[in-house]
């Protein structure tokens, strides 16, 4: 187990329990939580764990602030969409689209990194913001190619669609294409997460952490900072693109709002901060809490408002329409009480 986790386990009893619970819940989600909404949430959590972990490789381990992460995510998603539109429904088209999206993301990341990582960190952040905005505008304008604001529907192999029904059951649940699609997402996300864990615990990851702490010192010890930062940017972009491909395959749809929007970029930032920067496990906790809050906080508040209907003012405060306000309050409180993120707090044991 220690080897699978690259010797970097949760290192806290409470965190181990939380991570184990999240893993088991995701692994058995189709059987534990019936209904399409629950499965939708589980798949989103799995994909966002990978997306957030890949961003943490940049921000938490490399100290590089980028606003182009959703662009790489989108490139992976659009790669799959365009490939299936032009090559037709099939596994080959999925693989080709996934690979093309990833390669394009890596090339673009390489070019951005090479041109801007030599300069100060703030310029890199600004350049990524500009490129990401330009790509988002392009995607919404090139409607003949990308479907514009309407996005594109994706033809995935029939075995992954809800129409497919296997002739056997597991734990009393009929296996459908939707469940198979979920397990494709889950297995790929688990593999990508373990890969990221391996990367951050490799000699490369150690150098990245040294660079984050002090780039001049790392350079004086003998490491070419620009090369390490460029490789980190490319790796992060590749994993984000793969997560984007999985998201497109899961949703069977891709559009600017689902993959390229600045709103998603901010969500990713919040998940990294809530979970804890500089630890891949933070992505697991941050993404799970955030996606659950996005999907269920409204319901929870609705129930709470009903339960407190007899009290003055409280039901108004708990009105489900105010869920974003409470999400904001929860974020501020988490940053105030857990400045090193939930994982940082749990690991420090204080």
């Amino acid at each position: 187990m220690v080897r699978i986790l690259s010797g970097d386990g949760p290192r806290s009893a409470v965190l181990s329990l939380i991570v184990a619970a999240i893993f088991l819940a995701l692994a058995f989600a189709p059987f534990l939580f019936p209904g399409s909404r629950a499965l939708e949430t589980a798949a989103r959590i799995a994909i966002f764990i990978v997306l957030v972990a890949s961003y943490d490789l940049l921000l938490g381990y490399g100290g590089i602030v980028s606003f182009a992460h959703t662009m790489f995510f989108g490139l992976g998603a659009y790669g799959v969409a365009l490939s299936t539109v032009h090559l037709g429904r099939g596994w080959g088209a999925l693989a080709f689209g996934t690979l093309s999206g990833m390669v394009l993301a890596v090339v673009l990341a390489f070019v951005i990194a090479l041109f801007s990582l030599r300069v100060r960190a703030i310029f890199f952040a600004m350049i990524t913001l500009a490129v990401a905005s330009a790509v988002a505008v392009l995607v919404s304008q090139l409607s003949w190619l990308t479907g514009g604001e309407d996005g594109m529907n994706i033809q995935i192999p029939r075995e992954l669609t809800p129409a497919f029904r296997a002739d056997f059951e597991i734990f009393g649940t009929r296996i459908t294409g939707r469940i198979l699609n979920y397990y494709l997402v889950f297995v790929c996300c688990t593999a990508l997460f373990l890969l990221l864990l391996r990367i951050v615990n490799s000699p490369f990851g150690r150098v990245l952490q040294a660079i984050r702490e002090n780039a001049f010192r790392a350079e004086a010890v003998g490491y070419r900072v620009v090369i390490y930062r460029t490789v980190a940017t490319c790796l992060s972009a590749a994993v984000a693109a793969l997560a984007g491909s999985l998201f497109a395959i899961w949703l069977r749809y891709v559009g600017p709002d689902t993959t390229l929007s600045m709103e998603i970029m901010i969500d990713i930032l919040l998940m990294v901060v809530i979970g804890g920067m500089g630890t891949i496990w933070g992505a697991v906790v941050g993404a799970t809490i955030f996606v659950l809050a996005q999907n269920y906080l409204q319901n929870l508040m609705g129930a709470a408002a009903e339960a407190t209907a007899g009290l003055p003012l409280v039901p108004d405060l708990l009105n489900p329409d105010r869920w974003l306000l409470w999400l904001g309050v929860a974020f501020i409180l988490s940053v105030y009480f857990f400045p090193a993120g939930i994982v940082g707090r749990l690991r420090s044991g204080r």
């Binding site: 000699p203 150690r206 702490e213 002090n214 010192r217 004086a220 003998g222 490491y223």
Partner: protein
Amino acid sequence: MSEPMLRLEGVRTDIAQYHILHGVDLDVPQGQVTMLLGRNGAGKTTTLRTVMGLWKPRAGRIMLAGRNIAGQDPAAIAQAGVALVPENMGIFANLTVEENMILAAVSGPIDPARLDWLFTVFPPLKTFWKNPAGNLSGGQKQMLATARAMVEERRLYLIDEPSKGLAPAIVSTLARALRDLKAKGATILMVEQNFKLARALGDQAAVMDDGRIVWAGPMATLAGDAGLQERLMGLSMEGHA
């Protein structure tokens, strides 16, 4: 006489609009310890940082084993076999002692025999091997910074005021370690204000003033001539022994 390991020829370095080094000429013989002495602000640290590539010289040549390294990146200079122990220690506080040491071994895994030697000369490193370097005391941080440079055999060690602000017991430990390193035939260019330590370790001495080398010669000559010390540095080594 064989070619020096390091030769500075007319090195001029500017920091922003200030001219700090005004043409430094210095030889650091192979296998010897050269002490760079002088008043505060004379340009000693800037000289070390210029050799390491952290400041780019405006003019002059920096010959390392016969090859000009002036203007190269610090990473390239480090890979050419130069290690710097900076004045502010320069450790990675968020990484463990072990990770700091592994990072410093740029040419491959740490040689176990060399690590054993480092544990002998700096015992606290073994005790706190898995602890974050930021949790070490000031003296232990200096030990780690020095050990990081010593973790591999280098062509040249640049050591900037290793005894600064440390307790006498820690200074003795560092002195022992540096004496061991010297006995292994290392070439060292060291800035040191503690004259007792400088005299004990140094084979050669070079005195700087106002961005220039104003005197260079055997340490024994400087140590034995109080008048010369007074004239060059405005004080006597004996008074600090």
